[in-house]
Symmetry: C2
Subunit: 269 residues, 2 copies
């Protein structure tokens, strides 16, 4: 019953088709909201529309091509629960960025086998960038340009460029988490915020060295794992445990095992 390794290539191509289908629903709605919003405040929500229509399109494609596969998405729950292969989709990760016209939101698509993510896609339609990870490697594509991803390998927090989407307490972070992350930014070389899933893409490209977040759900991080690991990075919970064990949804991604270990120690202080 087990799929052979080479079948992943077929699934990875299909994941790219899914990302294309999502683009067709999300991109026309991006930066189209404010004007319409002024006319009719209640009736128009471009993010929700983009989310729903993209998730519908993706589910339709998966049902047609792989009717036995499971699907779980942000908007419409789970189909075929218990299937060996499961698609985990988040059509618009970074709703707030989408609402602000900032191109850091992304479509996230993962394929899990028996609960482990084996393919991950991070797609940013406005910049035209797509990260794909599977089979121990990751690639970054933009138009005709394609290159293998490789993390920076930075080993020390003092030289690291660190990121989280929202550093404030009371959002994704508890007060304690916000304080720990703030201390971490002061020990690091520099900090950037509000990058959503795009930050993990930049980590895979060697441009950011550490990302720490909390309150992430499976559809927020499943797609990140093959991209980060395929680029040579490390991604776990804040205590170094495998993802999925922590009900607080705390995710820590780093450009080297040494930096990862330093951050685990730092955040647990």
């Amino acid at each position: 019953m087990a799929k052979r390794a080479e079948d992943l290539s077929e699934f990875a191509q299909f994941a790219s088709r899914l990302a294309d289908a999502a683009r067709a629903e999300t991109l026309p709605r991006f930066r189209a909201g404010a004007r319409a919003d002024n006319k009719s405040k209640a009736a128009f929500d471009p993010v929700t529309d983009a989310d729903r229509e993209a998730e519908r399109a993706l589910r339709r494609l998966i049902r047609e091509s792989f009717p036995a596969h499971g699907v779980i998405g942000e908007e419409f729950g789970e189909e075929n629960a218990g299937a060996e292969w499961r698609w985990v989709i988040d059509p618009v990760d970074g709703t707030r960025a989408f609402c602000c016209g900032a191109p850091s939101w992304a479509t996230l698509i993962a394929l899990e086998r028996k609960g482990a993510p084996v393919i991950g896609v991070i797609d940013q339609p406005f910049t035209g960038e797509r990260w794909t990870g599977w089979g121990g490697a990751s690639a970054h594509q933009r138009g005709a340009e394609r290159r293998a991803c490789r993390v920076s390998g930075a080993r020390r927090l003092a030289e690291a460029r660190v990121s989280t989407t929202d550093p404030r307490a009371g959002g994704y972070f508890t007060g304690e988490e916000a304080e720990a992350f703030l201390r971490l930014t002061h020990a690091a070389r520099l900090a950037r915020f509000s990058l959503d899933a795009y930050a993990y893409g930049l980590l895979a490209l060697g441009e950011i060295d550490l990302v720490a977040e909390a309150s992430l759900k499976r559809h927020d991080y499943a797609a990140l794992v093959p991209v980060i690991e395929g680029a040579g990075g490390v991604i776990t919970g804040w205590e170094g445990e495998p993802l999925g064990q922590d009900p607080r949804g705390r995710v820590l991604a780093a450009a080297s095992p040494a930096l990862h270990a330093e951050a685990v120690a730092f955040l647990s202080r």
Copy 2:
């Protein structure tokens, strides 16, 4: 001696040529740093190189075309001090974003007449976006697409999307400023960070409603003024005073006079 209004059109075209020239120096160095950095840490600084080479290229072009004009830039000081027309340039605004591979840095070009910015350009080479403001209007260009800019017109803080580059104390903000801005984010609809000059471009597009920053220098904000005002927005210091009077470099830009007034009152509490 005074230039006629129609001459501004010639200068605006020239400002676009300057932005093109800056792109040629900055874009090839963007996301090219990390790999080289691993080999030779001390010898390679793509941001400084991009900054310096772009500023050199711009100064050369200005000297050739308008030898009587003044120039002031981040790297090489002032030329022709006291000239009626002065170019104010910042080849890479958002150094930290540039270092992280995040496409929120921008080239900023302003033309001042007798100290007042009359043309402003915000150029983001990676996304291929350019905002140009002059003569009471602003436009956004991306490839062949061009549209007039118009702020959202949002009138209340409670519905506003607000932004600042770094919300932490001890960076651009004093402890007091950081606290005031944090309170403001909690009163607003949502907050995004780390967008640099790109945030003002999004404000001009109606996608962000309020931006507040501190520690900005003339070359950080001169180009923003014609873009924001040309889109129907308001841009002043935190107390509503004209820009340039506050040695703390506090800048407040808003999508409507009502929202601006509410933010002035809020930040002075």
